[in-house]
Symmetry: C2
Subunit: 188 residues, 2 copies
DNA sequence: CTCATTTTAATACCTAGTCCTAAGTGCTAG
DNA sequence: CTAGCACTTAGGACTAGGTATTAAAATGAG
């Protein structure tokens, strides 16, 4: 016997995570055991069969594509009063962090704040002009960031928005954004 | 007979595009024809079976996730002298722009500059502290952004980096980043 | 040696198909 | 009216990649 049951099962879940397209037969050969053993393993580990795995992936992708294109909205706007204030929520996931240390990349927090600031402007086309920002403490994987934006100054075609992002009452990010309006067909 | 063959086939491809998870049986009921008819239709239209459709979707998603996690590297670093200067290239694609007007979202340019600034620091863990930035002109879909970063000040654990992003000699973005070092196990 | 765990085997069944042959339906042109 | 054609439906055989169940081996530990 090569591996113990536990070892095999741990390798199995790894392998399927890395390549979900493997059939039971293929992994069975890899581990030099019978198909049935692999199936028992999957059963115990609660890993669904190939087709279900694939289906779930496809469903996720489908949801994703339907709901938000990757860069379109970072964070979920949960409250918004145009030209006044807004709140956006973002849970830091694996796709947001440095692999090495599980700390959220700066531009993710920036993107959340920036998106919110732009959403505050009730203009067809709004862009960011200047911004000055401060990353106060690193944000870890899994933390929920709540960005609070308030309009400090409002002009015809310019908005000054202050954004504070907190994790559990603790400020982690602060930024001032100057958002300006574009006259539709390109402008500025 | 409800629909002609052509009509049915056109609705069929539409329906499957909109919801690729439909089985032949389900659409057969929808169109009040037999399963065989639907299968003939798919054959003629070159539409693969449910499982293949789903698999292809999953594969696409998989490729995506494998190649670049959306936030990991924004822009391609083409030149880098640690603690001195660096250059990064980014071609604005569909995934970077507002749908409405094909202008690159601010945080994309920020992300490119931020990634480059952090790459300049030869530290295991480097994070952005403060930054002040200026979006000088909107960047359109398809434009190639070249970010030039130079270190203005270098201390033990802090780096001041200036970044200028240009599209064909024209400055579109400017930022000053303060990058700081973290003593490995979390720190700061 | 014996007992429990682990592994393998064998069988029936499932879904969502493919591929193939055959037969039925509806309409049109001679 | 009927032969011919396009279209539709039906049926059977086979497929992959399983589930679920039962049963028999193999193996290791006490």
């Amino acid at each position: 016997m090569r591996l113990t049951k536990k070892e095999r099962q741990s390798y199995l879940s790894q392998a399927l995570e890395q390549n979900p397209f493997l059939t039971d037969e293929e992994v069975a050969k890899k581990f030099h055991v019978s198909i049935q053993t692999i199936r028992l393993d999957r059963l115990e580990l609660g890993i669904p069969e190939l087709r279900e795995r694939i289906k779930h992936m496809a469903e996720k992708k489908f949801d994703h594509v339907q709901s938000l294109s990757p860069s379109e909205v970072i964070g979920e706007v949960i409250d918004l009063q145009l030209h006044k204030n807004g709140i956006s929520l973002l849970e830091i996931g694996l796709e947001h962090v440095f692999e090495r240390n599980q700390i959220a990349r700066g531009h993710i927090l920036f993107a959340q704040a920036n998106s919110l600031a732009i959403a505050l402007a009730d203009w067809k086309v709004a862009l960011t002009g200047n911004a000055s920002i401060r990353f106060i403490r690193p944000v870890q994987l899994g933390e929920k960031c709540i960005a609070f934006a308030t309009v400090a100054e409002a002009h015809d075609s310019r908005l000054h928005v202050g954004v504070q992002t907190k994790v559990q009452e603790e400020i982690v990010f602060q930024g001032d954004f100057e958002v300006y309006r574009v006259s539709d067909d390109r402008g500025n």
